[in-house]
């Protein structure tokens, strides 16, 4: 049985609460700002938000439940998505179906985290049971070591060079130069990338995202509702998610996208080559390359060639992470999984805060999250279309 499409459900009102490296505020503060910004920007009354979907790593001891009372909301549909970099994809999927089925009218999807001076270390130490038992005791500074191992393996397997990863980082920085919320807005050269200090070999400084505080949010609602509110919107054309894909691979060399991409593009009625831009999850450049391969932008193993053949800048070929991505904007915890969505909706509605992709009609957003032990477990992707 083929999956139902998402006709009549749209994404609107992308919101970004500006990122800061460290904050003395708590996650509740950032999420509250995101909700307030949604209300203000969309003109939807707070009381009309009858669905709420939350993602955050630093909300403890609260979950989405606590936030309803915290912010005085009485939603009839509530979800909490603890899936890190895949949170945006999964939140959108859940919320879209809720709206489609009539379980909610307008769903506020919010993701955000704080970053205290010592909270990153504490989050790492208690990230997951497997991480606590089998990764953190080894000194691994969060996902750095896991991604170093993936990157090293991928390099051996497929012969990609550091300068190829560098090209992606430099292109994203180029995109970030015009994006007002990017924490890194100084041009990056390939030489600077290659000469940066090693963090976990083969990873260098500019391969690693910088943890920070901030929030991202959007609304999911029916198309006619968006029209009556006069909200610019993007359509949901196709979606997939997959968790713990390929568990027998001895190390991660591919993600769940490889299993489900045909399904994604069949539902969307378009192919990878039709995308006007892509927002892929980018906490480390190796995962950009894996997503490009596994989502069918190029064959498996041709990532290096694909990187060499494209420019990835807005205005170039296959604009990638057009706001600068997490590598240049910063990683505000779970908001990192939303960054691609807020940017994609802005691009498809012609309202980019930074560089605008000309005549953007179709965009792909993919998510990846949760290095539970040795690999990222959650993956997903969405094809969005302009109204």
């Amino acid at each position: 049985m083929s999956r139902a499409c998402y006709d009549g459900v749209v994404v609107a009102s992308p919101v970004t609460i500006p990122y800061v490296r460290y904050s003395t505020r708590d996650a509740h503060w950032f999420l509250g700002r995101a909700l307030a910004a949604l209300v203000k920007q969309s003109g939807v009354k707070k009381e009309q938000l009858d669905g709420l979907c939350v993602s955050s790593f630093t909300l403890f001891p609260d979950t989405a439940v606590g936030l309803t009372q915290h912010f005085g909301l009485s939603p009839r549909w509530l979800d909490h998505i603890p899936m890190g970099g895949a949170s945006g994809v999964v939140a959108l999927r859940r919320a879209a179906r809720a709206v489609q089925a009539g379980d909610a009218g307008i769903v506020a999807c919010i993701a955000g985290d704080t970053n205290h001076v010592d909270s990153f270390r504490q989050n790492l130490a208690n990230f997951s049971r497997f991480a606590r038992d089998a990764v953190y005791p080894f000194g691994a500074g969060g996902p750095n070591a896991s991604f170093a191992l993936l990157t090293s393996y991928y390099m051996h397997q497929y012969g990609i060079e550091p300068r190829d990863f560098g090209k992606l980082c430099v292109a994203q920085r180029d995109n970030a130069l015009k994006f007002p919320h990017a924490l890194f807005r100084k041009p990056l050269t390939l030489d600077e990338y290659l000469n940066a200090r090693p963090i976990a070999e083969p990873l260098r400084l500019f391969d690693c995202v910088m943890p920070c505080a901030g929030a991202e949010a959007f609304l999911v609602l029916a198309e006619d509702r968006a029209r009556s509110l006069d909200l610019p919107f993007a359509r949901i054309l196709g979606t997939i998610e997959r968790h713990n894909a390929f568990p027998d691979d001895p190390i991660q060399i591919r993600g769940g996208w490889a299993l489900d991409r045909d399904d994604l593009f069949a539902q969307a009625g378009a192919g990878a080559a039709d995308m006007d831009f892509a927002e892929v999850y980018d906490d480390y450049p190796v995962i950009n390359v894996m997503q490009l391969e596994d989502l069918g932008f190029c064959p498996k193993g041709d990532g290096a060639g694909f990187v060499r053949r494209n420019s990835f800048t807005v205005g170039g070929t296959l604009p990638l992470n057009t706001s600068g991505g997490q590598l240049s904007v910063g990683q505000a915890g779970a908001a990192g999984g939303y960054l691609g969505f807020t940017e994609a909706v802005r691009q498809l509605t012609g309202r980019a805060l930074g560089a605008q992709v000309e005549n953007a009609r179709l965009g792909l957003v993919s998510g990846f999250g949760m290095i539970n032990y040795d690999r990222g477990l959650c993956g997903g992707a969405v094809v969005l279309g302009a109204a």
Binding site: F120, R121, L124, A125, R129, F130, R132, D133, A134, V135, Y136, P137, F138, G139, A140, G141, G142, N144, A145, A148, L149, L150, S152, Y153, H156, R197, P198, I199, A200, E201, P202, L203, P247, P250, I251, Y373, D374
Partner: protein, 408 residues
């Protein structure tokens, strides 16, 4: 090959001591089984009873067939190092002091992939995995090259996990007995820098050991003053303390009087307490100093500390008390990363076990086993066939063993 460890230079007294820090020690209850096996030098992983899948990290059910019948079984550490990295950054104090640090992912022939500390001689390809206690006292996985290499034990990562006597200063609390003598010889052979051997009654002729590293020191563990005096002289230098002081008579409960029992407690239990109070704090303070920090405390207990041998009843009771005390000492010393090793020998071939039939454990064999255990970094040692037999029976059924010991 590994760069050989250089003889440490004397510490500059003006510079601050490097304070002991520990690697992260939090583990799930399931993962502590890895620690339990590593404490005896074994790599054990979860095996599914129903489908034989081997899995890691530890889980509550089999990831293949969802059976809850999981067994911890000794597992061959042979595998393939498929990827490696050098960490230059860590969020933990302990590791910040020790970067750069090699880590790798090893796919075991038995199935799962394990993140491991890498020995300096490991290259991509074949590797051997071991479970080791790290300084926090919890198990981590260590990858070694497929074959032994030159100076292998001198690898800085491995030295953190082990208590190798090389270049270390060791105190043997009773050096007069056969065990103390054999230990002193074995430690000199293992490259110890100084071996102090305690002699309780220095006016008696002590056996002479023909090695310049061995020094006799006065030490009577029943005398608090004697213990404190010695600690005042060498307490700030002892890297490994091996408590061999023992009082042993073949008495049962029905034998008249409490004198023997009291004497046994004075040496076997209170002697350990006095040593712990006098030598413990200084060792803890030096647990991260230089390239050969203070590292281990070894207690010579008895396998009958686990289950009493009625024919040596009061002795068993004093050793059980010492065992309990040693567990407490371990909990305190581990806060600085000092390993407390408990040794549970069966009957030793000495004058107090004359009527015990063979097999008995010879002093040289015991000494060799202790030195090997220090090098391997284990925490519980059951040396010899009798100890192995009794601990196996103890784990099978404590009650059955209790009955069986009645007639021995």
């Amino acid at each position: 090959m590994t760069e050989p460890l250089a003889r440490p230079k004397p510490r500059n007294p003006v510079r601050a001591l490097r304070l002991p820090t520990l690697p992260p020690g939090a583990r799930s209850r399931a993962a502590l089984r890895l620690t339990a096996a590593a404490a005896e030098g074994r790599l054990e992983l979860q095996h599914c009873f129903d489908c034989a899948t081997v899995q890691y990290p530890p889980r509550a059910a089999c990831q293949k067939c969802l059976s809850h019948r999981l067994e911890w079984r000794e597992t061959d550490g042979a595998g393939e190092l498929i990827s490696d990295t050098v960490l230059h950054h860590s969020n933990e104090l302990y590791y910040r002091e020790r970067v750069p640090l090699r880590l790798g992912l090893v796919r075991l022939d038995a199935g799962p992939s394990l993140l491991a500390h890498l020995h300096g001689d490991c290259t991509l390809g074949r590797a051997r995995l071991r479970a080791q206690l790290d300084r926090s006292g919890q198990a981590v996985v260590v990858a070694l090259p497929p074959q032994d290499t030159t100076n292998m034990a001198d690898d800085p990562m491995l030295r953190e996990m082990t208590c190798d006597p090389k270049f270390r200063k060791v105190l043997i609390t009773d050096g007069k007995g056969a065990v103390g003598q054999a230990l002193a010889r074995a430690l000199v052979e293992a490259g110890a820098d100084i071996v102090w051997i305690g002699i309780a009654e220095p006016w008696k002729q002590a056996p002479r050991l023909d090695a310049k590293q061995v020094e006799t020191v006065p030490l009577d563990v029943t005398d608090e003053r004697s213990v404190r005096d010695l600690a005042g002289v060498i307490g700030g230098k002892v890297d490994i303390l091996i408590n061999t002081a023992e009082f042993h008579r073949a008495h049962g409960v029905a034998d008249r009087g409490t004198e023997t029992a009291r004497a046994e407690m004075e040496v076997n239990y209170l002697g350990l307490l006095r040593l712990a109070q006098a030598f413990g704090p200084a060792m803890r303070a030096r647990a991260a100093e230089g390239t050969v920090p203070a590292t281990a405390w070894v207690n010579l207990l008895s396998i009958y500390a686990l289950s009493a041998l009625p024919s040596h009843g009061t002795f068993s009771a004093s050793k059980a008390a010492a065992f309990a005390l040693s567990q407490n000492l371990r909990a305190e010393m581990h806060q600085a990363g000092i390993r407390v090793m408990n040794v549970f020998p069966g009957p030793i071939d000495d004058e107090w076990n004359q009527l015990v039939p063979p097999p008995k454990l010879g002093a040289p064999a015991l000494a060799t086993a202790i030195v090997r255990a220090l090098r391997d970094g284990v925490e519980d040692l059951y040396p010899g066939d009798i100890a192995q037999d009794i601990v196996a029976r103890f784990r099978e059924s404590q009650k059955v063993l209790e009955r069986e010991l009645w007639d021995q």
